[in-house]
Symmetry: C2
Subunit: 186 residues, 2 copies
DNA sequence: TTTATTTCTTACCAAATGTCAAGAGAAGTT
DNA sequence: AACTTCTCTTGACATTTGGTAAGAAATAAA
């Protein structure tokens, strides 16, 4: 839970007691490459902090897998609206490599929100921050070329390119694997 | 405040008292077409419920205005991460028509969160719902053609096309005004 | 190691979308 | 009404990206 506590205390001022109380609500879980953290049509009642490894969030449209996001160490991953509203989830979340996760259950999360306001505060940060990130990538999707988006991703998450199949990265950039290959070459 | 109360009670179970307490924290504000609700480099300390009219959220990239979203009656609008974290905002939010807004100030919002848990509950819904919507449009940006995105928008918000310059709609769809014109022509 | 499977690259051609330029049409102003 | 400004459309052409197919390279399995 070391990394998780680190991550939280990087975002908000918090005392050790609260930090421990929070992290004691998480459980360590290991996933093997290819395992699913989440599948469609189920309610997602867990949220994970990624200790190590890569997970991808994808959906299938017109028979093709569309990778929406790839999560790496230090990030949180869940199906947000399913987690919050207990509505059926529609994403696949699959381990791209062996992963170590810290998982909090929905019920524990909401209890913790009530008993430990600092967790609520952190959760708000997490939400607003995720929202801003999504806004940013949507914005860049609206007006940049695939080349620019590739350059940005190379600058921001270079490690991704060594640890994750390029076809998933291509999909996340909104292009085909072939196009990514051409962009990388040129 | 009629519409605002309606909007809230459509989302969550809430008693009249709480509803009134919440809506009494909002102030009615009128904007003329062209007025700015928000400009870059300022902290956004207000959130608006749109009673009537249209507002667009945009940014300038490479000298071009990129319209990110167009808000209409019944929606909330703010610069979320600026509002939450008091960080400098980078969006323009401008009235596309005369608008009537119900505005809540940042301070009042956070007070209300503490004194009226129902407002916090609604705020959570609003956030998660906004996130899901953004996810959805990002996803469609990743794998659909401009034609499909246009068809979706026509189905979901037909009124937009009668009340808002098409060039902004084009931008929001990630295409040029010329392309939109061609797609509409068929 | 050998084999099978998955991933990545390349070439060719097609489709989607962008850019530029011109003009028509609509809306706002005087 | 006359004028100005903004918005929308259209055409010609350029650029970007996609689709298909084949094979090379890398990875996983036997």
């Amino acid at each position: 839970m070391e990394q998780l506590e680190q991550c939280i205390s990087n975002q908000i001022r918090i005392q050790k007691e609260d930090l421990h109380k929070i992290s004691s609500n998480f459980q360590k879980v290991e996933l093997k490459k290819g395992d699913f953290f989440l599948e469609p049509d189920k309610v997602c009642r867990k949220m994970a902090f990624i200790n190590s490894g890569y997970l991808r969030m994808y959906d299938i449209a017109d028979g093709k897998e569309i990778t929406f996001w790839i999560g790496s160490a230090g990030k949180f991953i869940t199906s947000l609206s399913s987690f919050v509203f207990e509505t059926p989830n529609h994403w696949y979340i699959q381990a791209l490599s062996d992963c170590t996760l810290c998982i909090i259950k929905r019920r524990d999360h909401f209890n913790l929100c009530e008993t430990t306001p600092k967790w609520l505060e952190f959760d708000n940060h997490l939400l607003a921050h995720s929202f801003a990130l999504l806004e940013k990538s949507m914005f860049s999707q609206l007006h940049t070329t695939a080349q620019q988006r590739l350059d940005n991703l190379l600058a921001e998450e270079p490690a991704l390119f060594n640890h994750v199949p390029l076809k998933y990265i291509a999909s996340m950039l909104g292009i085909t694997a072939e196009s990514l290959s051409r962009l990388r070459k040129g």
